[in-house]
Amino acid sequence: MASTATSLASAGLKLVTNTGPKKLLLGKCYPCYVPKATRVYVKMMDWDDWLKMYFVRFDSYFTHDPDKIAKTGDIVLIEQLPKRLTRDITHQLTKVIYPMGDIVDPISGKKCMGGQFRDVEEVKDRLWGKNENAFDYEKAPPRGWQEGKKDWTHRPGQRKFHEFDDRDTSHMAY
């Protein structure tokens, strides 16, 4: 939180706590090319008065995240800023609740994999016989080691509407 305070201060805003009830939301992180920000998709429910039913709606928020603590796929807690930072950034990222691939069961504190505890999965693997090339959680590097090499989600995407034979050069080739 200290870095958020200093980064907000550089923009002329103060991180003030206890300013009354804060609007908190839980959402999932999506790729975002805006620097120092994370795009969060929040699942909201729309009420239909005739059918008396709720329908899903996704609200997209650009959240202030200077240290990039959240990665794509993480479920995070965001908080509304007292005043919007830029035209797009209206919220700040408070905490990563369920990081993707590294979910921790809040009750037991144990790491989970595919809806089951990792140690339970290990016992299963041992009984069936574990493959040598299988993914090893302890030896695997932290998430994000392919960024810049094969993961390009931090760069704005390219949208190609038509393939021009005279213009599209060979750098598009694989």
Partner: protein
Amino acid sequence: MTFMKGVHPIRRTLQHLNNKRLVLKPFIQIFQVQYKNGVPSHRGAADFAHWHLSQLQYKNPDVQVITYRGLTPTPFIRVFFSSGRELLMDVDRQTKDDIYNRVVTTLCKTEKELEEAQKKSEVAENPAHFGYGCKRHCICEIPGQIPCPAVIPLPYHMRGRYRFGFAEVDESKFL
């Protein structure tokens, strides 16, 4: 009852949705449920989400009510407060009614608080009000106002059909 199709469409009736007890305390911002489908110990949490989550959202439109499925092997309810703190409820192997009672006693407004809130919103409380749900149905019942035209006809100069020439006053009646 509209749209009577699907599993338990009674959940889509106002009678079912107007569960007065499931009004959350004002400092609650997010109500998150997590469970897995098909696991017997998660059955209570799944049933609670099936029956009561729509009621909860209906009575608390400003709270974000979300469900996550298949994250962890233990079902839980996680509530986030506006202060930044959170509350965690382990609902493993509990029935839907146990979870419902637990949520009502810990997170919802008490009967007293609900009564007080209802009294404030009640229109009939103000004796000066009249209309639907009030002690006096129409302005004609209020002393000092024109009596009900169904009982005593209005004078000719107040009746549109005589004012705008659609009917003429038959003066022979007054002779």
